[in-house]
Symmetry: C2
Subunit: 222 residues, 2 copies
């Protein structure tokens, strides 16, 4: 696979008129590469939303992406790798959100962090390539049957929960949360609000950021 | 199907030596019927936990139950009906829990109701026929692709959320929750704690009732 990958990459570079050598790849090629990767991930999201996570094959993704099999395999060796990329893309926007939240000097409450996260989930779900939260719910089920998906989900969700852990510690330092509680336990409960919101939004359909944030404000200490 | 069902039922009653007429079925037959139903539901849980929700067929359930196809179809016409029964059995224990909670004259907080529910989830998950929460997660995914499963999930979860709604109203009456908030919105957030707990328990594995309840106590108003 590695030799094939390098050959394909070299061919692509030659075809694009850029240098054959990876060490001197100009910036435009890296942009091109990112755009192609995005094209494949978007195609996978379309397939998974239309056909279901389980039924979607690499062949479906290749067809939808309108790239060659070699091009797609040059970026992703398996459906599992694409799933990891979909999760990474969706959650990287949440990473940025938490960076911004933590950059503020204002006292930061778990409530404020959760309100911002719920808004972000709905923004991410509304992306043109289809609702990524529908793929997430299917990935949860798949994770129970497929060890590789489980490891991906576990890694991504531990990272997301890690953000809530930082918020809990910050709230303890700011005096908005009991300093004697294990912040890991608080992070577990904060994390729950996100899949709980996603699930009700998809299965019941009457939950919006406005209703949910009103519930959060009533229920959580502030 | 209805005629076949009645024929099978009649045959079973004759074989058991009881009256042919449904209107005069003695109590032992109703018990026998409930035991058979339980046998089928338990077989389905075993299959779904071993093979996955999606892959499990009626043929698998029939084989695992060690009953005839006619007997099984006499109770459940489809996998969807069995799923509804699994959900009903699991959630009926939660119905009882809420009845008991609401029967008390003590002031009732959302926190206390959630703590009791988390304990109950773990009790139900530990049943001998296999962890029903693993089936629930798979049913969430299936609900996005199968309208019938979606309606079952929606109905069951609206009922569970209805319990939290009653708790929220009671807490407003008791003065432990802001009376100006829409209790439906509070119920949405309370409901979230359950799938959020289940998911972390299955995918990450480090969440226990003890850690989660500690997080709830720190985060929720009391």
């Amino acid at each position: 696979m590695s030799v094939l990958y390098r050959l394909l990459k070299a061919r692509q570079l030659v075809k694009n008129g850029h240098s054959f050598y990876v060490s001197s790849v100009p910036k435009v090629t890296e942009e091109h590469r990112l755009a192609r990767r995005e094209q494949i991930v978007a195609a996978a999201r379309v397939c998974m939303n239309a056909e279901g996570f389980h039924k979607t094959t690499m062949a479906d993704v290749i067809r939808e992406s309108q790239l060659s099999a070699g091009a797609v395999y040059g970026y992703f060796k398996s459906k599992e790798e694409i799933v990891a990329a979909i999760a990474e893309d969706a959650l990287s926007t949440v990473d940025e959100l938490f960076e911004n939240l933590l950059a503020s000097d204002e006292p930061l409450t778990p409530l404020a962090a959760l309100e911002a996260t719920v808004d972000q989930v709905v923004r991410v779900a509304g992306a043109p390539a289809g609702d990524v939260t529908r793929i997430a719910v299917q990935a949860w089920a798949e994770a129970l049957r497929n060890e590789e998906i489980r490891e991906i989900a576990k890694g991504k969700y531990c990272k997301l929960r890690g953000h809530f852990l930082v918020i809990a510690r910050r709230a303890q330092a700011d005096g908005t949360l009991d300093p004697d509680v294990d912040p890991q336990h608080v992070a577990q409960v904060m994390f729950s609000m996100i899949p709980g919101f996603v699930l009700q939004r998809l299965l019941i359909g009457d939950v919006t950021p406005a209703t949910y944030k009103a519930g959060l404000r009533a229920l959580l200490r502030s």
